[in-house]
């Protein structure tokens, strides 16, 4: 048996229930049942102008095709619905409430101007298949976004349509596959570092490639010697995240690109951490052939509780002809979409999804870019890196930095050696952070660092908020070292719920409410 991955503990300590609960801050907080438990089966919260349609409300020509039994779902009046969802919202943490230090996730402020603009009728109320003559403004948005992205990355082309970072990775590898196949060179392997985000190997496998891992050096970088040894005529692409998942810039990135190209492979860069270098470094200058950009990270479209995101992929000149359809072209002073793999798009590898990608996210990201400008985006990278290094400096006296020498980029990585002998785990420490008012950092990722704690503050935190966060963590760390185990083992004590039993959820999956409940 090979244990593929070992992460965090998933069931709380059996003794935990006995730990005292001192719930505070719960005044005016309501327990909220599921909508299925509100006894709203017979009504609806939407009014219909029934009279207008009365004579024609007739499904006679659908005989035999209609539902056998009425659709049983609850309908809430507007006041009930508003109250239900507002109450539920209050059980969430959000970037609007406090620093949200999830490393590699980039939780930064989401400008409300971007929300306002994305809701203009000329954008939100636009059908993807309207005649091109009626959507010139939308195509200009796509064209302008492409211009900003290609200029910032120093790459000649961009495929806008991927709907998330992982979708962008897939798009990049499909494009690379098409480029190899066009030469009759069917390569079968993709190399990715052990520290890579799980999407890299998952994407490569989905794209039909065998994944071979590249090792990492003791100081958190790609092992060049191992890379060189594994490169060969069967390698289609090398996937490297830069800055990497340890929060470090790959110093040898240009050499990685050179070696990759010398082996006839393409260099795919996972651009999840582009926010650390935007405006200061252009991936095109590093030898990158393809890189996805998470608009929801670097360009701050809201995360929305897990999506929707957007993952445009910038491409080198050698890959551009193989990009997925559709893309925007200039045709005699007008803009148009090339939607099929004919003519100029003959070599296109296909289509990533039904329409043109995440237009709602394009508008938000473009508004964000225009607001910051070339100068502001450079400042974004500088402040993101400054804030992370400030946290690293302030916490390093007590917590153990995984790579203490030299600066980090946009996130500070700690391991759990500083907790040795305390009987407190990374998970315990993270959960105790909730009780002092902060969302935990990313934990147990990257897998190459034991008990990893990855902190990414982003550039939109004030110094006061950073200090509040550091003070809270230093106080917690002191308690941990002083042996105050009870404060950690049962944490959180003051959240809407205590620790949840993930084992039970997985053993007896209950994914929908049923009427017997």
């Amino acid at each position: 048996m090979t244990i593929l991955a070992v992460g965090r503990p998933t069931r709380s300590d059996p003794d935990m229930k006995s730990a005292g609960t001192t719930r505070s801050g719960g005044a005016l907080m309501q327990d909220e049942p599921l909508i299925f438990e509100l006894d709203c089966w017979e009504k609806t919260g939407v009014d219909f102008p029934r009279d207008d349609f009365g004579p024609d409300l007739d499904a006679s020509d659908l005989a035999g095709l209609t539902r056998a039994s009425p659709l049983r779902l609850p309908g809430l009046s507007e006041p009930e619905a508003v109250r239900h969802y507002v109450r539920l919202s209050q059980k969430n943490h959000a970037i609007d409430l406090a620093l949200y230090p999830l490393g590699s996730c980039t939780m930064k402020h989401n400008p409300r101007l971007d929300e306002k603009l994305a809701r203009l009728p000329g954008f939100i109320d636009l059908h993807p298949l309207q005649p091109m003559s009626t959507v010139q403004g939308a195509l200009k948005v796509m064209d302008a976004l492409a211009h900003w992205l290609t200029t910032l990355t120093g790459m000649p082309a961009v495929a806008l349509s991927p709907k998330a970072g992982a979708h962008g990775e897939l798009c990049g590898l499909h494009t690379i596959r098409a480029a190899h196949e066009a030469r009759g060179d069917a390569r079968k392997t993709v190399l990715a570092p052990t520290s890579a985000h799980g999407t890299n190997p998952a994407t490569a496998a989905l794209a039909g490639y065998q994944v071979v891992e590249i090792g990492q050096t003791a100081d958190g970088h790609v092992d060049i010697a191992d890379l060189a040894a594994k490169l060969g005529p069967d390698v289609a692409a090398v996937m490297v995240t830069n800055p990497n998942t340890c929060g470090l810039f790959e110093r040898e990135i240009i050499e990685i690109a050179r070696l990759t190209h010398a082996a006839g492979a393409y260099f795919y860069c996972d651009g999840a951490n582009f926010n650390a270098i935007v405006g200061r470094v252009r991936p095109g200058d590093l030898g990158v052939d393809a890189m996805h950009i998470n608009l929801h990270k670097t360009f701050s479209t809201p995360h929305g509780g897990g999506g929707p995101g957007a993952g445009p992929v910038v491409l080198s000149a050698s890959l551009a002809p193989y990009a997925p359809t559709p893309w925007v072209v200039h045709q005699g002073g007008r803009l148009a979409l090339l939607e099929h793999a004919v003519g100029e798009a003959t070599a296109s590898h296909g289509r990533m999804s039904a329409f043109h990608g995440q237009m709602g996210m394009y508008v938000r990201a473009l508004a964000y870019m225009m607001s910051h400008g070339a100068d502001g985006l450079r400042q974004v990278a500088e402040d993101a890196v400054l804030n992370a290094n400030y946290i690293k400096a302030r916490l390093s006296g007590v917590m153990s930095a995984a790579f203490p020498d030299g600066p980090c980029m946009h996130e500070a990585l700690f391991d759990d050696t500083w907790l040795e002998g305390t009987d407190i785990t990374t998970l315990d420490f993270a959960k105790a952070m909730i009780d002092v008012g902060f969302h935990p950092m990313t934990m147990y990722f990257p897998l190459v660092v034991h008990g990893a704690m990855l902190i990414e503050p982003t550039e939109t935190e004030s110094r006061r908020e950073l200090d509040r966060f550091c003070d809270a963590l230093l106080e917690l760390a002191a308690a941990a070292k002083a042996g105050d185990v009870d404060r950690f083992k049962g944490a959180p004590f003051h959240a809407p719920l205590r620790r949840l039993d993930e084992t039970l959820a997985a053993r007896r999956p209950k994914l929908v409410w049923t009427s017997g409940d």
Binding site: A5, H127, I253, H303, G307, E465, L500, P509
Partner: protein
């Protein structure tokens, strides 16, 4: 810069704490040759007013769907969304939260996902559903990949009524993964034709109802034929409102149902973001792609919700994951859930009846236009018609009169030899005046 809180004094003080002489000291790992010494060649920062003017002007260059008669469907639908939906999804705690990795402080998101999954299961008539996919087309592609995993077979048969963009998105994903997709010739009313193409290597057949031409089909016989051959039936629906009236995929024997959920709670958005619905039989649960939310209890025995069965996913399985997906379409799924919670089963059924009624009015009017044939035999809210000339030309000509007449099938599938086929959609937003304007314009166009 209004989004950056640090002052130059803060920056200097923080550099001192770090022990760095300047910001460049923090970028020393970047190769010297790759360091940009000046900002890139793009405009400098701009105030809210300037950005709003610039993007507002671009929005103004578009003809919004609501700005006149509008009959476009074919995978994206214009419906009225209650004002409270957009208000609620803009709550900070929903809009600006992350994937619910820390369930103790994300019960808002998790409980709404559980409600979403339950609603999707009820709508599709299947026992389990996931927490959503990017959109209907990628959900369709993932369903084919899932069927290949379940059956350990490598061939999928796609009906001639499946939306051509869904066909392409499915081919793109399946092709590189070594799954062979065979799409039958485009046909108005031939979902059952997939039965003839089923063989011992077939992992699944994919049918759509209502299909891209609007045709509603009872695919119960397709299910029986697929199952007899050890294959799965995937049923695709692009118009989620139809679930309020029509027989559900589960009732017809589907193993996997996928749908575009945009119609409920979400705007047209020029194609995205949308929300893919994905439901299946219980026995297939562990082969599903995407996020799943499940019920459990906390340390004090209180009910709560967590992301579950995550060993299927990329962060644990890596190259053996069921999919590379690591998000859902969270906020769009929330909008879907809230709108669906307002509608309820009663409201969705009424809404579906109104859509059908409007489409009947449209069909009756179209039938009066000389030289035009209504092709769709059984419809919900979409109708395909044959025009006496190129549908693309007609659409362009009517756009010049501020009428968006629908979608030319040739735009979706230029190689099908169906250049004269136009697909029109009517929803509760379609008025009698809209239909009258369309008919007048068509008659003028055909010189009646």
């Amino acid at each position: 810069m209004r989004y950056l809180p640090l002052t130059n004094t803060d920056r200097a003080d923080m550099l001192a704490v770090i022990g760095a002489a300047g910001i460049d000291d923090l970028f020393t790992d970047v190769p010297v040759s790759a360091r940009l010494s000046t900002p890139v060649d793009l405009p400098f920062h701009a105030g809210e007013l300037a950005v709003e003017r610039a993007l507002g002007a671009l929005a103004g260059e578009n003809r919004a769907a609501g700005a006149g008669p509008f009959f476009c469907g074919a995978g994206a639908y214009r419906h009225h969304v209650p004002a409270s939906v957009d208000h609620l999804i803009q709550r900070s705690e929903f809009l600006t939260s992350y994937t619910p990795y820390q369930p103790e402080i994300a019960q808002g998101t998790l409980q709404t996902l559980f409600e979403f999954q339950t609603q999707v299961a009820a709508l599709t008539g299947l026992p389990v559903a996931n927490a959503s996919m990017y959109d209907g087309s990628t959900a369709c592609a993932e369903a084919v990949m899932m069927a290949a995993r379940v059956t350990r077979r490598k061939k999928a048969v796609l009906s001639g009524g499946l939306h051509p963009h869904y066909v392409e998105a499915t081919y793109t994903l399946a092709h590189s993964a070594g799954v062979d997709t065979r799409r039958l010739a485009a046909a108005i009313d031939a979902e059952a034709a997939v039965i003839e193409a089923i063989d011992a290597d077939t992992a699944c057949v994919v049918v759509q109802t209502p299909n891209v031409f609007g045709t509603v089909t009872d695919v119960t016989a397709v299910a029986a034929a697929a199952h007899a051959a050890g294959a799965l039936l995937v049923v695709v629906t692009t118009e989620a409102v139809s679930f309020g009236l029509l027989k559900s995929p589960g009732e017809m024997g589907a193993d996997i149902a996928v749908a575009e959920g945009q119609s409920i709670g979400n705007g047209l958005n020029f194609g995205g973001p949308y929300v893919g619905l994905f439901a299946c039989r219980e026995a297939l649960t562990r082969q599903m792609p995407g996020r799943l939310c499940g019920e459990t209890v906390d340390a004090e025995g209180r009910r709560g919700f967590v992301l579950t069965l995550s060993t299927r996913e990329q962060h644990i399985r890596r190259d053996k994951a069921t999919s590379n997906i690591c998000t859902n379409s969270g906020l769009c799924a929330l909008a879907f859930t809230i709108h669906m919670s307002l509608l309820g089963g009663v409201g969705l059924t009424t809404l579906a009846e109104h859509n059908h009624a409007r489409a009947r009015a449209l069909r009756a009017a179209l039938a009066t236009v000389r030289g035009m044939d209504v092709l769709t035999p059984r419809f919900f809210n979409e109708i395909a018609v044959r025009l006496p000339k190129s549908a693309t030309q007609v659409v362009d000509a009517l756009a010049g009169r501020n009428i968006l007449a629908g979608v030319s099938f040739a735009r979706l599938d230029p190689g099908a030899g169906m250049d004269d086929v136009l697909i029109l959609c009517a929803t509760e937003t379609t008025t009698d005046e809209d239909i009258a304007a369309l008919i007048d314009a068509l008659e003028m166009e055909f010189g009646a």
